[in-house]
């Protein structure tokens, strides 16, 4: 079955603001290290200020990727793999992030039935436009858009 031809070029997302509560809530559950939990401890750490877990950034970036692809009529189903994810710099409290997505190659093979694969190069940017993280990923895209539903 032929895969639908995707839009080409670069797509940009909305922004998400990261306040202290969100950073601490994620970190308390998944990454309880001092520099993600406590401002005083963070000030003395390698980062110098309270900052989000890198896994928090990865999860939020993926949410932004899925929303952006879906609003551009690419029926994102799931992230399949991440060839590389680099954290370039911390994301501090009260910063906001957005993603810039460069669409790469599509492939017919995907582990999820009814989907094809789509390579994506994702830059996660803060409010100053600095790239705080980069991800090279493969996403599963539904062949039939009705398969991809968000709640």
């Amino acid at each position: 079955m032929a895969t639908p031809s995707p839009p080409s070029g670069t797509l940009c997302s909305e922004t998400i603001a990261l306040d202290k509560n969100a950073i601490v809530a994620f970190a308390s559950r998944f990454d309880p290290q001092p520099y993600h939990l406590d401002e005083d401890a963070a000030a003395q750490s390698i980062f110098g200020n309270l900052c989000a877990s890198g896994w928090h950034i990865a999860a939020l970036a993926t949410r932004l990727v899925s929303e952006t692809l879906i609003s551009n009529e690419l029926s994102f189903v799931q992230m399949i793999s991440v060839r590389q994810l680099k954290w370039n710099q911390p994301t501090f409290m009260n910063e906001e992030i957005s993603v810039r997505i460069a669409l790469g190659a599509t492939g017919e093979e995907s582990p999820i039935a009814g989907t094809h694969s789509q390579a994506l190069e994702v830059d996660v940017c803060n409010g100053d436009g600095a790239v705080v993280a980069k991800m090279a990923v493969t996403a599963a895209i539904a062949n039939d858009p009705k398969l991809a539903g968000t709640s």
């Binding site: 994620f26 998944f30 189903v77 590389q84 039935a113 398969l147 968000t150």
Partner: protein, 166 residues
């Protein structure tokens, strides 16, 4: 008997081949739904009933929940072994991950066991202070099937020159 303090060692003291089992976690329906509501609001992770008729054939955990739980199991494990250590920060932040794959669905009630093995020490010095420890990390479900794997580079502090601190 020597106690193994994972966080009390310099970069130079961490051997390639060192292996740890961070522990296991059983995923509940509630935590799968709660995580997805915030981070991954797809039917297959947020709505147990609609997920039944979906391609997922039931509720599945968001990929990043599986990976975030790796982080939690690692921190818990390191904290246990770091008891009594004043400087708990010699092993620092993650810098990059490579070849992350989610291989099989994780569903409510599934139990994952997370493992860690040091596979390389790339020859790099970062900010004149840190080296890189590259580890391979895997999660296995209750059937011993591998469901997730990735490599990660984590900073480890190099032994200062002229240091008597062992």
């Amino acid at each position: 008997m020597t106690t193994l303090y994972l966080r009390d060692r310099w970069f130079e003291d961490l051997p390639v081949g060192e292996f740890h089992v961070f522990g296991s976690h059983t995923f509940s329906e509630l935590e799968i739904v709660e995580f997805a509501q915030t981070f991954d609001p797809r039917l297959e992770s947020t709505d147990p009933e609609k997920a039944r008729d979906n391609h997922s054939q039931g509720l599945v955990a968001s990929p990043w929940l599986i990976t975030a739980m790796w982080m939690r199991k690692m921190v818990d494990y390191m904290e246990v072994y770091a008891q009594g250590v004043n400087d708990g920060r010699r092993n620092g932040a993650g810098v990059a991950i490579n070849d992350l794959q989610w291989l099989e669905p994780v569903r409510p009630g599934h139990t994952l066991t997370y493992t860690y093995e040091i596979i390389a020490k790339p020859e790099r010095v970062i900010r004149e202070k840190w080296g890189l420890i590259r580890s391979r990390n895997e999660a296995f479900n209750q059937y011993s099937n591998k469901v997730m794997c990735f490599d990660i580079d984590i900073l480890a502090e190099r032994r200062p020159k002229n240091s008597n601190d062992v």
